[in-house]
């Protein structure tokens, strides 16, 4: 039996649910097809959902959503072979809406999908979409392992594994240098221990990004986020750099857990879950054409992720909203052709998120071809500070001279200047 909807959304993650929510709320008939047992049980997030884009779709959602901790404390931890340096920022004022929350996807996505259902969308779980169907070049439905569904519009939110998009010729299969593999553990700790260890108030949370020696030769980051009664600890690295070093993700994870900057924070914690997921890291150049006759591509499938800020889920929401709004206009005109749907890509291009990604173009490639950057600077900074804080009878000017030679031993001055120039141009 074939059922007909105005729109079918493939995948109940933040991108797909947002698109479905926007369309259903405005009287389109929408079905979301999710392959998992329930929305969220296939999904992984590093840790933080930034509030802004979802608050635009659903004002004050953070007052009722199942969230973990409000992130008030951001740190960078630079790991050296003989010590580490922690830079922490803690905001004094409580902003409204808050900037970001840690979330656990099994809870959050389930809640969010319920919101789309309340808005009128139909949710079908345990169903795998195997193919996009088309007629005379226009996508007009999907094939699932439980039958076909036809629709005027298909919104593909299949996540980082883009088999459907590849099969339909919308995207090409990503290369190993365009994707990162991230592994993560959920480590249970009582709430009062978390508050003490990270110096947090009741619902406050901390986020730490780790850069440095533990990931030698890899282009990647470690991360630690606090949930209510657990920590999310993990790291992600560009797959091609993992391949080059022939490193096993779980071995690196174990080494990371033994780092002196990590171990005291997770001590006595019980591992509750081990997870792995890919993150698109192709940047702006990797964003494909996200529309065709009868179809829009959103979220991770659209390669929307920002390695610098750690944004992903909020960009999924942003793209889902834009796709939903363009779908409403297409529905109003009863015209789902490329010329109408192309507005989606224009909206994204002009968004803060994609403009940032555009500016950062080439940054990861630069770091990849200068992979020693990832350890040389943390190493130099740690050596400098260790020299600076040590009282050993030498004068401060002698120390400055020593520090200068430490830095130039780690990376030549001309390279340092070039690194600063590239980083400055791509980030500022």
């Amino acid at each position: 039996m074939t059922e007909k909807f105005d729109a079918v959304v493939v995948g109940a993650g933040p991108a797909g649910i947002t698109a479905a929510y926007v369309m259903a709320k405005n009287e389109m008939s929408v079905v979301i097809i999710e392959r998992g047992e329930f929305p969220g049980n296939k999904n992984v997030i590093g840790g933080v959902l930034y509030v802004k884009t979802l608050n635009d779709v659903m004002p004050e959602f953070w007052k009722e959503a199942p969230l973990e901790r409000r992130i008030t404390q951001h740190s960078y931890c630079l790991i050296g072979s003989k010590g580490h340096t922690l830079v922490t920022h803690k905001g004094a004022a409580h902003s409204e809406p808050p900037n970001g929350y840690t979330i656990l996807r099994a809870k959050f996505d389930k809640w969010y999908a319920k919101k789309a259902e309340e808005a009128g969308a139909t949710l079908i779980t345990k169903t795998n979409v195997t193919e996009l169907l088309s007629k005379e070049g226009k996508i007009d439905g999907v094939r699932t392992d439980r039958g076909d569904v036809s629709a005027d519009l298909v919104v593909v939110a299949e996540g980082a594994n883009t088999m459907l998009c590849e099969k339909a010729g919308l995207v090409t299969k990503p290369r190993p240098d365009q994707m990162a593999i991230a592994v993560k553990e959920i480590i249970a700790l009582p709430s009062d221990r978390i508050r003490e260890r990270f110096a947090l108030e009741e619902d406050e949370g901390a986020a730490i990004q780790y850069i440095g020696a533990s990931f030698k030769g890899l282009v990647g980051f470690g991360f630690l986020y606090t949930n209510r009664e657990s920590l999310s600890l993990g790291f992600g690295a560009i797959i091609s750099t993992m391949m080059r070093g022939r490193m096993k993700p779980y071995d690196l994870m174990e080494r990371f857990k033994e780092e002196p900057s990590v171990e005291p924070l997770i001590r006595d914690g019980a591992v509750k879950e081990y997870q792995a997921h890919m993150i698109p890291e192709a940047g702006y150049a990797g964003i494909p054409k996200l529309f065709s006759d009868g179809v829009l591509v959103v979220g991770d499938s659209a390669m929307l992720a920002n390695p610098v800020t750690g944004e992903g889920a909020d960009l999924a929401v942003l793209s889902g909203r834009m796709a939903g709004e363009v779908a409403l206009r297409a529905h109003g005109m009863r015209d789902y052709a490329s010329r109408t749907l192309s507005e989606y890509q224009e909206l994204l291009e002009n968004s803060f998120a994609v403009r940032d990604m555009k500016k950062q173009s080439g940054l990861l490639q630069y770091i990849e071809s200068n992979a020693e950057i990832m350890s040389a600077y943390p190493e130099a900074i740690n050596a400098m500070l260790s020299e600076w804080f040590r009282v050993d009878g030498s004068t401060r000017s002698e120390k400055i001279r020593r520090i200068r030679s430490i830095v130039s031993a780690k990376r030549k001055t001309t390279r340092v200047l070039k690194d600063l120039y590239v980083l400055g141009r791509k980030l500022l």
Binding site: R35, G36, E37, G40, N41, K42, N43, V44, I45, L104, R105, A106, K107, F108, D109, T125, K126, T127, N128, T130, T144, D145, R146, A160, N161, M163, K173, P174, R175, P176, M179, I181, V183, E185, I186, S230, I239, M242, M243, R246, M247, K248, P249, Y250, E254, V271, K272, E273, Y274, Q275, A276, H277, M278
Partner: protein, 87 residues
């Protein structure tokens, strides 16, 4: 903590059929066998003369599909596969 212990914590709904297929001929010629290293769940193992796939341990990240051109990886059928309790 050993990987086996971590994998033991995970909940899977096991499909009777593997969602991962490999080209055994290509694997026999392959000297690289990157699959043995990149997979975070150690799904692949090599026992002379072939590569074995413990598909029931797969966490569906898809890394092997990106790292190796001979892996034919599709989603497990609806409702099957990894089922995270936290995510």
């Amino acid at each position: 903590m050993r990987l086996e212990e971590k994998l033991y914590l995970l909940r899977h709904v096991v499909d009777e059929e593997s969602h991962i297929k490999i080209d055994q001929e290509a694997c026999a010629r392959c000297t690289d066998r990157i699959c043995l290293d990149v997979c975070p769940a150690n799904v692949y193992s090599y026992v002379e003369p072939k590569v074995f796939i413990a598909y029931e341990n797969c966490v569906e990240c898809g890394t092997c599909r990106i790292a190796c051109p001979f892996v034919e990886w599709v989603n497990p059928k609806g409702g099957a596969g990894i089922s995270y309790r936290y995510g």
